[in-house]
């Protein structure tokens, strides 16, 4: 009976298994250094895209939680020497910070562009703060924060409980790949439950959800926290991949990159942000290696074109086009996939 929700909560197992196989078998034919960072960016984009696409919450400073994950891991790893607890902290602490900030915003009825500013400001504060911590006096335990130079030389991931068996290289790739797959399934699971449907309701009409008796601020804070936890995990992996953590993890650039990837890939799907991040991340890396055309120019142009021509993003546009070709004539809707668009018309803003 409920047709639209089935597609949100259900996993298309065929595609999923194919995708998983590609990821897991890739190291047999290709090097893993570049794919690892693409997976990390994909997880980061998934964290934002999930919250944005299904609950309608767009954070302009999601790099705050990405960066927190990275720094928390580095600081904890230097102090503890083993990687299991630091990884857990790198997920837990961003989640806690997000819970506090989210509660402050959502219980205060902040929404829309004002929330965008607040989330942006949080990430900027972290960026400026970290930038200014050069010098020996800025340290947490044994870990010097390093200011704008960053923190190099922390222990990277090892097998839990065996600090001398490092997971560097191909094993880290597998850790990232499996994490991405698990997080994807986690998101699908949430969407299949009542909580996921309430989130959709909140995205569509917050007032009405409130008037149905749902505790909207609590729901929004919860999804914000979950999203920050995933972002923190991706930040932790990033620290391990780069082997150095600098304040640029908190930068506006990082926040804007993940928004662009999600948007181009397609907000309103889970696979959109993942593929968008991988594709555009790859483009970014390739462009960085040549000097003929400027990076920014290309990305800016892509973003403008996507917003004007395919505002739903690439994946949903493809799905729509595909669906229109093979579907029998249905009640013509300006809905269909278009309802996934997250546009805020003046009338909808309260």
């Amino acid at each position: 009976m409920i047709t639209a929700w089935r597609s949100i909560g259900g996993v298309r197992w065929g595609w999923f298994i194919a995708f998983a196989l590609v990821l897991l078998l890739l190291p047999l034919v290709y090097e893993t250094h570049t794919p690892t960072v693409l997976l990390i960016w994909a997880l980061f984009a998934l964290s934002l895209g999930f919250m944005w696409g299904y609950a309608g919450i767009l954070s302009f400073g999601h790099s705050a939680y990405f960066g927190l994950g990275a720094y928390v891991y580095a600081i904890a790893a230097v102090n503890i020497g083993e990687s299991t607890l630091p990884l857990i902290l790198a997920v837990f602490i961003p989640a806690c910070v997000a819970a506090v900030i989210g509660a402050m915003m959502f219980y205060g009825r902040i929404s829309d562009v004002y929330m965008g500013v607040m989330t942006l400001v949080v990430s900027l504060i972290m960026f400026k703060f970290m930038n200014a911590t050069a010098g020996d006096q800025y340290a947490i335990g044994a870990a010097r924060l390093g200011g704008f130079n960053g923190m190099p030389g922390f222990p990277t991931l090892n097998v839990p409980g065996a600090p001398h068996i490092s997971l560097w290289g191909v094993p880290t790739y597998y850790v990232c790949a499996v994490s991405l797959l698990i997080c994807y399934l986690l998101c699908r699971w949430i969407l299949a439950r009542s909580f996921g449907r309430v989130l959709l309701g909140i995205r569509e009409n917050e007032t009405r959800c409130e008037l149905l008796g749902y505790n909207v601020p609590a729901c929004k804070t919860a999804i914000f926290t979950i999203s920050a936890a995933m972002a923190g995990l991706s930040g932790c992996f990033f620290a391990n991949w780069a082997e150095i953590v600098t304040p640029s993890v908190f930068s506006l650039q990082t926040s804007s990159d993940v928004i662009i990837w999600s948007m181009v890939g397609g907000v309103g799907t889970l696979i959109g942000p993942i593929l968008g991040a991988m594709a555009l991340g790859m483009v970014k890396l390739l462009l960085g290696q040549q000097t003929l055309i400027n990076n920014f120019l290309v990305f800016g142009f892509i973003l403008i074109v996507v917003v004007l021509a395919m505002p739903r993003g690439v994946i949903p546009s493809i799905q729509y086009w595909w669906g229109n070709r093979s579907r029998r004539s249905r009640v013509p809707s300006n809905g269909g996939r278009a309802r996934r668009r997250l546009t805020v018309k003046p009338a909808e803003r309260s």
């Binding site: 942006l120 948007m263 120019l297 800016g300 004007l308 505002p311 997250l342 546009t343």
Partner: protein
Amino acid sequence: MDYAGVVFLEIIYMIAFLALTSAGLAVVFGMMRVINLAHGEFVMLGGYTTLTCYKAGINIYFAMLIVAPIVVGLFGLIVERLIIRFLYGRMIDTMLATWGLSLFLIGAVTMIFGSSAVNVPTPISGYELGSYQMGGYNLFIIFVAAAVMIGVWCVLRFTRVGLIARGAMQNADVASSLGYNPRTVYMITFTAGAALSGLAGGVLAPLTGLLPTSGGAYIAKAFITIVTGGAAVIAGTVSSSVIFGVISQVVSFASTPVIGEIAMLALAIVLLRLMPQGITGRFFKNST
């Protein structure tokens, strides 16, 4: 005593700086609810325009006060026609498209001018306040900022053009049934906002080395200033500039400039939490 004078002037300067760099964004946001994230790049373009004119021998005041606004204003017109006008009412999409535009502009300017800093000399020399050496040019900036604020306020309040603009912003349907095309109003308003950004960029060019990425320094502060200010164009910008200018400079003087900036950002969070519709959503309602 001299020190008090210095602090006072620095505070006024910061207020002026914030107001001037936010003016263009405030006009566009306050009137049309459009967030132009390429605003910082428009400011940067104003700077490069001034630089180019100066190198070509044009008088620097003419370059920064006349040429820069016109050039960037025209550029804003092109942007409005090609991009913005398709996205009215879609605030998030507009933000994303203008973000893309800002990246595009940074790239383009880098390819044309190169990525190293260029300098425009300050046309006004410093003066002495007691035992402190002050930048005379800062006074000029304060003067220009005040003139811009007063000028825009007068245009909106006292001219027919301003009244039509305010009317169209309130209710586009009523405006068109009175014979005014809202689309034209939006176009002119966006162009005016771009021109103001160009003016700010031209005037600020002599201060620091110009880089293609200079815009980034302006956009965050401007965005925060006008959103915290709320919907009223001038009252919002001025009130939030005053609050942020005072707090950021006072804290800077009491500790370090970095702490001062962080204090300003933290204050923005507090203010938005207390007044979710901005300052002029709560106080000074119905002001311009």
